[in-house]
Amino acid sequence: MSVLIYVELDNGSIKKTSLEAVAYGAKVAEKTGDKAVVLAIGAAASSALEIAGNYGASKVLHASDEKLTHENSLAYADALAQAVEQEGSKIIVLSKSGLGDAMAARAAAKLKAGVVSGVTALPEINGSFKVTRGIFTGKAFATTEMKSDVKILVVKKNVIEITENDVASASAVVETFSPQLRDADFQASVVNVEKASSELSLTEAQIIVSGGRGMKGPEHWQPLVDLAKALGAATGCSKPVSDLDWRPHHEHIGQTGIKVAPNLYIACGISGAIQHLAGVNGSKCIVVINKDPEAPFFKAADYGIVGDVFEILPKLTEAAKNL
């Protein structure tokens, strides 16, 4: 038997969040005495997939049919279910994303499997199988027992830390996987794809610099962008800022926007409404810069500076460049 891990690809490489899922799946496999098998769908060189071995996988199934080049959650879920059946897997791991949830859901219905999305820790396997998940947008957690024979876990980012010691120099065997493709999965046609390819994706970014209404207007964003550049960070914003069209909607971080969990989140001129905090409470370290010492965000922060963002940001950028 095996634990099956689905990995997402970005330009032919396994995404960092998916490598975490591989490490997670390998740790689960260690507990259950199974092997960790990875499924990758889309175009990629074998050498780019072999590195899953470094994170504990013994085998990678690679489905590279041309029809699967464009992300298609329906067909991908079908492929996942077929891989599960081929490998006889009882535990399936995906990383939390729009695609991960969509595939987990459709595969769960196909396989009559229980699915828990938003898993935040390794499972407790002790006669029963229990997982911990984030609920109420990070305001709380639940321990949930999974009773179904086949179990699907959608794992949040930064759940396990990959240290240098975890990365072995083993490489996984890459096998071609040719799932049966169903016409029903290809009824939608893609009219257009717009990708902000030059920008770092918020969900993948390790550092995020984010701005709120305290930035005073879209024309004042440059100091924030400069700091982001110096730190190799992605830029985000609060809901009022995207509502006012100061910044594009896909930068909106919060309860009804994107939930992020970077190593470092720097909030500039964001007061910290509970809905915004809900989108960032998975961050490892939070820095808050605000002129109002009473801003509620300071209560959720690790480091705080009370002062004018337009004076502070250039100083930080300068210091970051000199690192």
């Binding site: 459709r106 609920i135 949930t144 939608a188 046609s189 309860q255 470092l264 809905q275 690192l323």
Partner: protein
């Protein structure tokens, strides 16, 4: 066109979450319940599509009677009738089976709901329902137009957006800016009182996952304040102390 909009009944986004009964139940004391914010977007777009092209809009909730005020609100916003599957659902799978069961009996062209409920944040119900019905499912949908039996969908993908054209029927998870939230007017509130709200019993589902215990995150340590005049020292602390640079 026959539209089904599925709504969740969730604590208000500003609610302070605590637990009771030895941490096995949410403490509902003093909590204001609302239609899930994402479901509210789905409902608003559903009402607009119905007004444009005619047809009917049914609102569906899987849950107990305490959700009835929120269901009446959905009727006041513009749904024609409502179905409540009377159950205390254990998980997404259970909810999806109930929705799929209602859908199988009624042949909807479009099934809309939020991208996720804001209590359990799973974001899997639309995918489960789509597969159970053998039809397409997409999420998160930010723009939706229907023309001649097919939908043009703009949805968010990692770091960008994708525009799809897909034949109906479909199940869609919605998010802003698909439509503006609608506030019921007086006439809507009056007519909602007499619109049908049918309560039906759930179909049985094998237990898949069972919540056991709830807990709150560990309290955050104190925030370390750095004087504005020494802002640049922050970068050094982030490297040497927090070890995040």
């Amino acid at each position: 066109m026959k539209i089904l909009v599925c709504i969740s009944n969730v604590p208000d986004t500003t609610a302070k979450i605590t637990f009771t009964d030895n941490d096995t139940r949410l403490n509902k004391n003093g909590i204001q319940y609302i239609i899930g914010p994402y479901d509210d977007y789905a409902l608003a777009r559903g009402v607009e599509l119905k007004e444009q092209s005619g047809g009917t809009l049914t609102v569906l909730h899987v849950g107990e009677a305490d959700a009835d005020p929120q269901i009446r609100k959905a009727l006041a916003i513009g749904a024609d009738d409502a179905i409540r599957v009377n159950a205390d659902p254990l998980d997404s799978y259970f909810v999806a089976v109930q929705i799929a069961n209602v859908a199988k009996q009624n042949n909807y062209d479009l099934i809309l709901m939020g991208r996720e409920s804001i209590d359990y944040n799973s974001g899997v119900v639309h995918g489960l329902v789509g597969e159970m019905l053998g039809i397409g499912s997409y999420s998160p949908v930010m723009k939706l137009d229907i023309e001649g039996g097919s939908a043009t969908i703009s949805r968010e993908i990692d770091g960008g957006k994708e525009i799809l054209k897909a034949p109906l029927p479909l199940v869609l998870g919605c998010q802003e800016p698909i439509a503006e939230w609608k506030i019921p007017n007086m006439r809507g509130i009056m007519t909602a009182r007499t619109k049908p709200l049918n309560v039906v019993e759930p179909v049985s589902v094998d237990e898949m996952t069972v919540p056991e215990k709830y807990f709150l995150p560990a309290p955050k340590g104190a925030c370390k304040m750095i004087p504005a005049g020494e802002a640049e020292t922050l970068i050094r602390l982030l490297r040497t102390e927090a070890k995040v640079l």
